[in-house]
Symmetry: C4
Subunit: 387 residues, 4 copies
């Protein structure tokens, strides 16, 4: 148990170090991008050229150091070449290499530093949604491609039609099909710059049709992406929740279909240490299961600590009253939230769960052995300590 505590402390420390490192990285990123932008502003770039250059070189140095450390051969890590070929490694390489190379090959300083915009890609691996989006595009490739072909056909036919109709009147705007295509793109996406506008009657009729088609294409695109994203998101959440649900002994003992149903209902909540989860006196609209970490229920004579596998906040659901105690995490914790609507729906179909929750609460209370002040609205259920 002592070993477990040490491991826990180490993991908390590692987490803190990691998140502190991440904040430093974001700051360097923001400063670097700001300096790059400032450099391109004629006046400012000339006046503070030295300072901006120093800043940019520092940022580059930081990213180079990061790349070196990450790709350094060491036990328990990927080998350097393998890391450099993986996704994050490639992004790190893209952040460091192009700028010196461009300077080496004689590109003007101002232009070379524009490559610093590639640093923004460092955000990509952090964001979970990007890989999600990749999968959605892969899975919905066929309908998306269909819509894209419709887009292309409407684009080209309308561009040719407007070239025919408008080239006499506006040769500089519709004089060739590529120019006409530019008009078609801005119109079909309903961007509408207004730099090229049809002026003949027929041209305007076709333009109106193109706009309406644009709405349709847009609608399909939106629908496909949104539906696919929602489905993939749900699927991924299910897989993550499943691992968490099966780590809670109390939930694991339910029969398989119930576990599946509950996994679909639960929502994951990752909290840092010392965060307030539930505040005394507030209305309660959900209960919590602790998948990992620990919380402290701030009861009057003496607070109570609940570890992984426990649950709290159920009394507010059972009697509809406000929260009776404040609950705070003591370390970074992962909780599973069960909304009141899902709780009611689930216990209606599985009355044994409500039974188990009440039994468990009674058991925990008798183990403590301290009778709490009664509760006016629901005196039948004893010991509503952590609501």
């Amino acid at each position: 148990m002592s070993q477990h505590r040490i491991d826990e402390l180490l993991s908390v420390f590692g987490l803190l170090r990691r998140s502190a490192y991440r904040i430093v990285q974001y700051c360097v990123l923001a400063i670097g991008l700001a300096a790059m932008m400032a450099m391109t502003i004629p006046d400012l770039g000339a006046r503070s050229a030295t300072w901006l250059a120093v800043t940019l070189w520092c940022c580059l140095g930081f990213f180079a150091a990061e790349l070196t450390i990450k790709s350094w051969p060491r036990a328990g890590a990927k080998a350097a070449p393998r890391y450099l070929l993986s996704g994050p490694g490639l992004i790190d390489l893209l952040a460091v290499l192009p700028i010196p190379l461009a300077l080496l090959f004689g590109a003007p300083t101002g232009t070379a530093w524009l490559l610093a915009s590639l640093w923004l890609l460092k955000l990509a691996p952090v964001v979970p949604g990007l890989s999600l989006l990749g999968r959605v595009i892969e899975q919905e490739a066929r309908p998306l491609a269909s819509v894209f072909v419709i887009f292309l056909i409407v684009l080209l036919l309308s561009a040719v039609a407007l070239h025919l109709l408008e080239r006499a009147g506006q040769p500089e705007r519709f004089g060739s099909v590529p120019r006409s295509l530019w008009w078609a793109v801005t119109t079909l996406t309903t961007t509408g710059y207004g730099d090229a506008v049809p002026e003949t009657f027929l041209g305007r009729m076709i333009a109106a049709l193109v706009m309406i088609c644009g709405l349709g294409v847009f609608g399909l695109w939106t629908g496909i992406l949104a539906t696919g994203f929602a489905a993939e998101h749900r699927r991924r959440e299910f897989v993550q929740n499943w691992d968490l649900v099966t780590s809670v002994p109390f939930l694991r003992n339910l029969d398989a279909p119930s576990v599946i149903e509950l996994t679909r209902m639960l929502r994951r909540l990752d909290l840092a240490g010392h965060t307030v989860v539930v505040r005394r006196g507030r209305p309660g609209d959900c209960m919590y299961f602790i998948a990992s970490g620990e919380v402290e229920v701030r009861l009057e004579p003496q607070p109570v600590r609940l570890g992984a596998g426990a649950f709290f906040g159920e009394f507010a659901l059972l009697d509809g009253g406000p929260r009776t105690a404040t609950v705070v995490t003591t370390m970074p914790s992962t909780l599973l939230i069960l909304e009141v609507s899902d709780f009611r729906s689930f216990t209606a179909h599985h009355p044994e769960l409500a039974q188990t929750i009440e039994t468990e609460a009674a058991r925990r209370k008798s183990a403590e052995g301290r009778p709490r002040h009664g509760h006016a609205t629901a005196p039948a259920i004893p010991g509503k300590r952590h609501r």
Copy 2:
């Protein structure tokens, strides 16, 4: 029972007073905002300066009085400092304080009164959807952040690319990355002002890609927000309906899964007093449960009053005929609507409900003891008094 009647009357009176007060508040708000706007119009502002100033000071006085009354210490209310720190209190403070402070610190009158636009925030607590929106954004924070990062990456990379390609030809529009970013924002959101338009071939190709990405980003955004909003809306409605359903004795006696199912189907309807709910002769496509309040069924010899817990409008669903009586609320009431499609679906799976409804109707009819004129299309079911 007499006490109950008095309480009811008091609550009705309170409601009326509250809604009358709200109308006054809205009028003051509208007049104040109009005066503020008029003040900024050069001619008008100069001509009627005095009148506008008087109007604005009156509105400010109204809101100051409102703030004072609301934060006055009294029994059964929050203490003043606590109210001022709550959401509505902060909004009330924002409406009153900034303008005098700005005038005090020497801001020109015209500029100071522009702060009156903060009065519009008074609408925020009234609108239930705003807190809903807050929760949706909180819950969908991860996917929304993902889409935002995609947005940022596309934005910066396209801005840099167009800066490179167009700075030679249009230095005043793409001469620096921040200027180029302005173009990128207007294009990626498909706003398309047309003040900055790429002119090179490659620049236009990239612009076309940015527009198409814009549609995609937009689609994801729309999808995430809309899905989250719909889910949260359903959840909140469930919780509200649950409380109402469990206040109807007739529904409370169903088994738990049926209550859950029914709670999902019902739709809440808040009506003022003396409102027509159902009009005789109109086609009937739903039945009503009374969660609170009272209605009057306008039957021929003598009207019948139904209180909380009763239901009406069921005969039109049972035989498909038109409504046989007009029903009017006698006081502000909350009804629960069951659509005909849900009614049929529910009674198909729970034939005992249809049974209960018929029994209840028969019971109520025999209690009245007055046989009604028969109904041509469905003579088998007796006593279709309030369809």
Copy 3:
């Protein structure tokens, strides 16, 4: 039965007359609107003034005649005043009265005829979706209002902010709050005319935020309307299909939950007389139930007629082969379509339906007593006459 046949013929005749009348009405509408538009074109309006005026007066006469006939007191129809106060009656009045009134009160001819645009409202009652839309807006009033308040708050705050920031540089565009509001509206809706564009750095930052908010507001709006529309559409379709399903004896005999399930699956198809429903040799992906009307199955020695309550097209679903006979409606008919995916899903859960369909097919075949040429791919099932 003879009486039934006559009634049927009369109803067919009435339907034809009604649809012929509708086509005439649409033509008059189109011609009238075109003439109204032509009148406003300077050259054309002057040159053919007489012809256009004659056309417009004729159209007006047509609509006046229509109004007179419809509101004429007669048996079985609404009384004139009641008709004039109903929705369609008001639209008919709006089409006829305003133009003579405007001319009477001395409006110039050109302006008076612009009121002919009200004729377009005649399309409204024909389109079922409009009342649907009305109900959606009524039901989703709360969330729609919430989004509208968000829209208003963003609009006003951004307009005031840009007024402050840009009034010095562009007084003619941002010099007053109403002018600034115009910019805010065009930006928040992502229309982006480009007639007013912020030029200061801060102004552009705020504009970018407004555009992104615009996408969000738009997304919520879209989501709420689309979800509500879909739900209401499904509900209405259920009610319509229910009446049709219960008119097919074969379906009516299923147990209640199955009828509900089937009603959700079926799709209604209204066909004119002498329309081809199914063509021999084409792949079959659905089967049909006849809710009303009659079809002719073009079998080789002699065609077979199927009336209301019958079904056809089931063999293609049972064995996956192409259609074996062409089916044509003999009169305006309403069919219910069951898609192959729903058919398989339904028969998997209700094997008795597949049984019933096969039995019914066998019964019909033996009643005819003519053995048909065998079918290569599925010889086990006898009598695949009308696939």
Copy 4:
């Protein structure tokens, strides 16, 4: 079996030939369209006129040859006239005929070659989504028409209103209703060219309303199309998957409701030959059923081949570990993917499937008779050869 192998080889060869032919066709299409566009660019078109003309004639020749071959009368194919009247035939005709005809009837060369844009229609039959879209539009015709009528009414009324309000100030833009309509279309679709902008106060109020209506119309349109597309897509996928599922003996033996449920869960994956399906060491989030084709499981002493009807990748789902072997297709194959979330949900409700999978795996292992190196994380389940 030998015959079967030959047929298989022929079909693979045919597939390769077909896909090689398709690539050639796409190249010709791209080159032809590029040449057509280049011809319209004044400078380029004049300088390289000969080369462009030769290129275009070659492309036309290619399409003409294609048409001739496809419509040539031969055994097992449609007769020429019938082919020419079918969808793809008409598209082939449209690609070949119009250009020579236009040249014959004396159209200028440049204009005649613009008809080459019709070549793009050749993409249409390839894209499965187009026919899908056609069906969606057919099925959702009523609500789409409703929205279109709303669109038309808003369009015409706002155009007339702005004509009235703005014709005095901007006669060249709002001087006639058709011109005003152009403004209304660009505004209602939120395209916003900015070539016509209202300048009166009332005109701007109406324009703001039109923009907000535009968002609403857009939202409905989007919602209807997206919902319809998603539903039709699911339906079509069900039909395709059903045929595949019933070709896997192992799945066919499940009871009917389970097959339906599984068919809804599975996702189809078409792979070329020699494609890696699963890579050793990667996390596993799905299992695969082979509907047609063959895969090679790269096991250590000797690879194992699995043909149609087999499944693989199930161990990663059973114990949550990484993939233990790489799997590669040996020929073009169609696989059915079962995601881990669906797998868990399905086996929870149908424990016999998990049983069958384990039994089948054990059977296959004992048939091979070669004990494999144990697996550290889950030694209880024997023979995890192809995870």
